[in-house]
Amino acid sequence: MVNTKVDLCGVTLDNPVMAASGTFGYGYEFAELFDINILGSFSFKGTTLEPRFGNPTPRIAECREGLINSIGLQNPGVDKVIEEELPKLKRCLHKKVMANVGGFSVEEYTEVCQRLDSCDQVGWLEVNVSCPNVHGGGIAFGTDAKAAAQVVKAVKSRVSKPVIVKLSPNVTDITEIAAACEEAGADGISLINTMLGMRIDLKTRKPVVANKMGGFSGPAVFPVALRMVYQVYECVDIPIIGIGGIFSAEDVIEMMLAGASAVQIGAANLVNPYVCKEVVEALPQTMKKYGINDLKDIIGGAH
């Protein structure tokens, strides 16, 4: 019997496969399709302090092997998430869930994190620093090492659960930002969030998504995500969650060889709602095929 268990900041996952934030809702759409407890866990939709409708539609543009989304962090706000979504989720998930947190100021991040930190169901806080920093002139927190570190530091000072910072790939040097976050106390690093991308409609001659640009993800971004995981593994000691373009058990293993302790599947869920289940089920036989007995052994194996 192969061992698929991995450790993520002190919590044991049955397997490293998680669903990525924003592509798995709060889990119930998927719980109708399969028992979501077979997953390592999942990260729920990015939560902000206030409810947000998000960006105008169209919010979706198709790409080769991927899509662009400009959802704009639509969510009911942290209080509704705690009062309504988490109790509903409890009925279908008996595991710790990862709470994905968005924010437009350091205060918003800390406030939302603090509220979610008090929820039993929440195992980890995943702080998405890809949102624009409204006080810092709109530049994303995640594109500036100091700003990212500041968020991590502020959040860490107010919560007890592990804080995983989710980084944007739209940067010159991902290692600088990851190192700054580790230094600031982050317990883990998720990468990557979406790449800034765009499509134009030839008929209307206008950008396809109303917001012009959006976040590009899917299998197309896998080589960039893998490279960043590999680079960051060499410069931090905290666990990395590998995200970006994962579709198969092979992709999971490749990400782990690059340095990921766990992975998240995003866009693939939208196209094949059973993909997480299929990947979890394929993992043992794929491990055997490549001579892997214990998944933990291969983390960073390509270095």
Binding site: G22, T23, F24, G25, E29, F30, E32, L33, K45, F53, G54, T57, P58, R59, I60, A61, E62, C63, R64, E65, G66, L67, N69, I71, Q74, V208, G218, A267, N269, L270, V271, N272, P273, Y274
Partner: protein
């Protein structure tokens, strides 16, 4: 919702750039309301294609689609016997239990919005309601299913923008000439808006919307729409919205 492999039974051109595809599903497809849709995976395309169900039996469904881009072009070249990976059933569909429907509802379909009216019409008729049906096309060459609607026993009115078939004008021109207790509409957003503007303010109705979709089953928030009763997902709480909740 579930993912099934459907077999293409037939795929034929029924009007300019317009194809009718009949599909067979060995399991349950779950479609029960007119206006529900399916989401079709095509090789070589990342996202699925949402297409309304035109009609269905226990094991078959019929869809009608226009070729507007590479995906629908590819579909139009598929042949009987080929398999398609499809998510179904999706969306709420038209609610025919609404108490305000009355004895003479009107079904209004424009262009690629005509197909969902067919299954809806069949359900209404089987409930003993004989609706009026207004079908709007750009031109005769784009028109389809007129005889099929008549064969069901509906009162059919046809309009075309260039007058080459039916009355020259828009569906709203026909709407102004008839009596109706309720309306069901599907078509381009401009048409839906014109209907809402034209229809008597006291008459209730249901309108089916389109939006670019990421998933089609409620997971991504790609298709959200603000309504008077909060945000709704076109793919999940829609595509059919009630007249009263729409914010234009």
């Amino acid at each position: 919702m579930k993912k099934s492999d459907f077999k293409i039974l037939s795929n034929k051109k029924i009007a300019d750039k317009t194809y009718e595809m009949k599909l067979f599903c060995s399991g349950e497809h779950g479609i029960s309301n007119g206006g529900q849709f399916v989401n079709i995976k095509l090789d070589g395309f990342f996202l699925r294609r949402p297409i309304s169900v035109c009609d269905w039996t226990d094991s078959n469904i019929t869809i009608i689609y226009k070729t507007v881009g590479a995906g629908t072009e590819k579909m139009s070249k598929m042949e009987a016997g080929q398999m398609l990976d499809i998510l179904t059933p999706l969306g709420n569909g038209f609610n025919i239990e609404d108490e305000n429907i009355g004895e003479k509802p009107v079904l209004i379909g424009g262009g690629a919005g005509v197909p969902p009216m067919y299954g809806l019409c069949r359900l209404l008729i089987s409930k003993g309601v004989k609706p009026s049906v207004i079908l709007g096309f750009n031109s005769q060459k784009d028109s389809f299913y007129i005889e099929e609607f008549k064969a069901m026993g509906a009162d059919v009115y046809v309009t075309s923008a260039d007058g080459s078939i039916g009355t020259e004008g828009f569906v709203t021109d026909a709407l102004k000439t008839i009596e109706y207790t309720y309306f069901f509409a599907c078509g381009p957003e401009a048409m839906l808006k014109a209907i809402d503007y034209t229809a008597d303010k006291k008459t209730d109705g249901q309108l089916s919307f389109e939006e670019r979709m990421g998933c089609g089953f409620g997971a991504c928030m790609g298709c959200s729409c603000e309504t008077k009763y909060g945000s709704k997902r076109i793919c999940k709480e829609g595509p059919v919205l009630k007249r009263g909740e729409i914010i234009w």
